[in-house]
């Protein structure tokens, strides 16, 4: 088979994530905050974590923001604070991250899967309605690829059933639907600040956002072993006793330092992501065998996800062209926990067809064009 189309530079490398250029600019500010951490002499859950909680509260409009050690912990604590525990059922999409299921299993509740919408890839309200039972305590819409779930439609179903909506907003810091920040359409939302997310740390960190004072109070208890009344730096007289069984989920102060710096330029970083996504879509739309993602004004592009007929072959082809990609959900979640193939067809199709391209803010236009050329070569040149 002869090669057709433009040649692809075989020495070119486009990594999944490379934040070095931004980090160089951010470093003086981050270093100043890290010095404050040393001055305060407190390296987990201190002044900077509290400052970040306030800043995220202001940015998202959440009344309460509770900093924890990871996005997975944020979802786990939000579920527990919403009353989920042993014997309960929690509805989760069959297409999504493993961490959603892990967060449910850690509460000792049973995950119940529901199919996703074939177009949006997010939890389908009708599918949820069919999966509710008397034991259902919560529904976890996952904002997979930061496509906002239609929480309003979902709540028409859950409110009637008396079921809490706890949103796994994943990487979707900055995403809003109808002006409401992702995670605030239900009882609570879990934010992840993993390094490649729209707001990312130099390690793991996460946050629960909510407007519910009681839910926030329970999260505060749960993140520090269930201890009551602890004030940072000033353990109260009852801090030696646990009111509930909790976990240790403190945010590292140095991660809070990094996040405070990056939150200040988050909108700029999101604008850069939007420009990269727009260029991808402009160049890839219409190629045979590839569907570009739905584009809406409120998307923040933590990942740029194609649907591809021959997904694995394209991933291999891109790897040979030096492009790192990711498969968002290699195995549908119900199949990880003993379910049968064919149960959730849309989730299974999405799982087999989706491929995420690099979309970080520092990605150069030339890199985007290299990726697009490689995809075009695959689609039009019959390679792979």
């Amino acid at each position: 088979m002869s090669m057709s189309g433009p040649a692809v530079d075989t020495e070119w490398r486009v990594p999944w994530f490379d934040g070095r250029a931004s980090f160089r600019d951010e470093w003086p500010d981050i270093a100043g905050r890290v010095r404050r951490v040393f001055d305060n002499d407190r390296f987990a859950h201190g002044e900077l974590t509290l400052e970040l909680e306030e800043a995220v509260g202001r940015y998202t409009g959440a009344r309460y923001a509770v900093g924890v050690s990871s996005g997975a912990d944020a979802l786990h604590l939000a579920l527990r604070a919403a009353g989920v525990g042993e014997g309960d059922e929690v509805v989760v999409p069959a297409f999504g991250p493993r961490s959603s299921v892990a967060a449910v299993l850690r509460t000792r509740a049973t995950p119940v899967f529901a199919d996703v919408d074939a177009v949006s890839g997010t939890l389908a309200p009708d599918a949820v309605a069919a999966r509710l039972s008397e034991r259902t305590k919560a529904v976890v819409p996952v904002h997979v690829f930061a496509r906002p779930v239609d929480v309003v439609a979902l709540r028409r179903i859950t409110d009637e059933a008396g079921v809490a909506v706890v949103e796994d907003t994943m990487q979707a810091m900055g995403a809003r639907a109808e002006g409401v920040h992702s995670g605030l359409g239900g009882a609570a939302g879990a934010l992840s600040f993993a390094p490649w997310n729209t707001l990312g740390a130099l390690g793991d960190a996460g946050m629960v956002i909510t407007d519910d004072a009681e839910l926030a109070r329970r999260c505060l208890l749960l993140r520090h072993h269930g201890r009551t009344g602890e004030v940072p730096g000033r353990p109260s007289e009852v801090s030696g006793s646990a009111a509930v069984v909790g976990v240790n989920s403190k945010m590292d102060e140095i991660q809070a330092a990094v996040l405070l710096t990056r939150l200040a330029s988050l909108d700029h970083a999101i604008a850069r992501r939007r420009a990269v996504a727009a260029r991808y879509t402009g160049r890839l739309a219409g190629l045979p065998g590839v569907d570009v993602p739905l584009t809406t004004d409120d998307q923040v592009w933590p990942t740029y996800v194609l649907e591809v007929d021959r997904r694995d072959a394209l991933a291999d082809h891109l790897a040979r062209a030096g492009v790192q990609t990711a498969i968002p959900c290699p195995v549908p979640l119900h199949l990880l926990t003993g379910g049968s193939p064919g149960t959730y067809p849309a989730a299974e199709a999405a799982s087999a067809r989706t491929l995420a391209l690099p979309v970080h803010p520092d990605l150069a236009t030339a890199d985007v064009d290299h990726v697009c050329a490689a995809v075009a070569l695959f689609c039009e040149g019959g390679r792979g």
Partner: protein, 372 residues
């Protein structure tokens, strides 16, 4: 006179510039690995080498290390796990988190560690594991627990959260059971610039299950790896570890010598001076009936103190439902009577003398004030 807080002040100050440079390098590293990267692997190898364990698995916190270890040795829903009544919440909380049932046993009144005889009586046909916790300055009687675990068919998880670097009969803390757990949070013996924990084990299966759970390969995983900057910092802090622990032991010895007359007079007991195997020096605690007055007296003189675990775990609302009607008089007594005094390596001899004088001064006036 400078204030002498309980927790070591500015302990990482001499690392400040190097830490900033280290963070800058991690941010600019072409590999862009921030969690479970090369520094974490290097730390795992170092901890394996130092403890002699075949495997070390570094994760996000000491609590999650304990959860990983418990799950890996087979603690499942309904499994009973024998834990000490005196200690920190995760000892019981992580068992409950896995759906297990903590069964509390009392501690030895002199050494404050889980009493093997009490633990033995707590074992039932549903018991899966026993978790001795090393406390303050004393390792639990691990040979006795090994024998018990062997004879009763239990797994043994060694909670060495505060005992990194300690040893008993020439064998490192963490190495005595099916798995051992260390914490590397800021104020632990090998403390970091964030949260972190490590599981050590010689067992292939336990190591593989801990890794799978940590890495999110299992849907029921506890998840969460150690980050690179914490691992890099801990690798750096290993330098000087022995010297810091030696200085702490020296301070402890001076306390023990100086307080001997108070012990003889029946005013104090010193857990760190009780004969016990596996001595180390993390916390130097005094036991006295006049704990709160002594704390107030020391505070007036600018000396910080700390009360550990004032409420026994089985009496805390979170765990009361697992305690039944059992009573834990030793855990109650030590909760009411312990007062830990500063023992950080940056204390100079003058500071130590000041603390000794303040403690002695309190009891001298206390003796004078006693009704005739």
């Amino acid at each position: 006179m400078r204030p002498l807080p309980f927790f070591p002040p500015a302990a990482f100050e001499q690392e400040r510039e190097a830490t900033l440079e280290m963070i800058r390098r991690i941010g600019l590293d072409p590999a862009q690995r921030f969690v479970l990267g090369p520094a974490v692997t290097e730390l795992e190898e170092e901890i394996s080498r130092e403890t002699g364990a075949r495997y070390a698995i570094a994760c996000a916190t000491g609590s999650s290390a304990l959860a990983l270890a418990l799950a890996a040795v087979g603690v499942e829903p309904g499994a009973e796990v024998v834990v000490p009544a005196f200690g920190c919440q995760p000892i019981a909380g992580m068992v409950v988190g896995l759906g297990g049932v903590p069964v509390f046993a009392d501690v030895d009144p002199r050494t404050l560690v889980l009493d093997p005889a009490a633990a033995e009586t707590a074992v039932t046909s549903r018991t899966t594991a026993v978790v001795p916790t090393h406390i303050f300055a004393t390792m639990a009687d691990m040979p006795a627990f090994r024998t018990m675990a062997h004879d009763r068919g239990l797994t043994l998880v060694e909670d060495a959260a505060v005992a990194y670097g300690a040893a008993l009969d020439g064998k490192a803390a963490g190495r005595w059971g099916d798995a051992g757990v260390f914490s590397h949070a800021q104020f632990k013996p090998l403390g970091g610039i964030g949260e972190g924990g490590v599981v050590v084990t010689d067992d292939d299966g336990v190591a593989a299950r801990c890794r799978a759970s940590r890495d999110g390969d299992r849907p029921d995983g506890w998840s969460g790896g150690m980050d690179e900057m914490t691992a890099r910092f801990l690798l750096r802090r290993r330098r000087g570890f022995t010297a810091r622990m030696r200085r702490k032991a020296e301070i402890a010895r001076r306390y023990t010598d100086a307080f001997a007359p108070l012990v003889e007079a029946g005013l104090l007991t010193l857990p760190a001076a009780e004969p016990a195997p596996g001595r180390f020096c993390h916390v130097y605690a005094l036991l006295t009936d006049r704990r709160d007055d002594l704390a107030a007296h020391l505070r007036e003189q600018g000396i910080g103190t700390h009360v550990y675990y004032p409420v026994p775990l089985p009496r805390q609302p979170a765990f009361a439902r697992f305690a039944g009607r059992a009573r834990f008089p030793n855990a109650e007594a030590v909760g009411n009577r312990n007062l830990a005094i500063p023992v950080w390596p940056g204390l100079d001899d003058e500071d130590v003398d000041r603390i000794i004088a303040a403690v002695k001064g309190f009891f001298a006036s206390a003796v004078r004030e006693q009704p005739r």
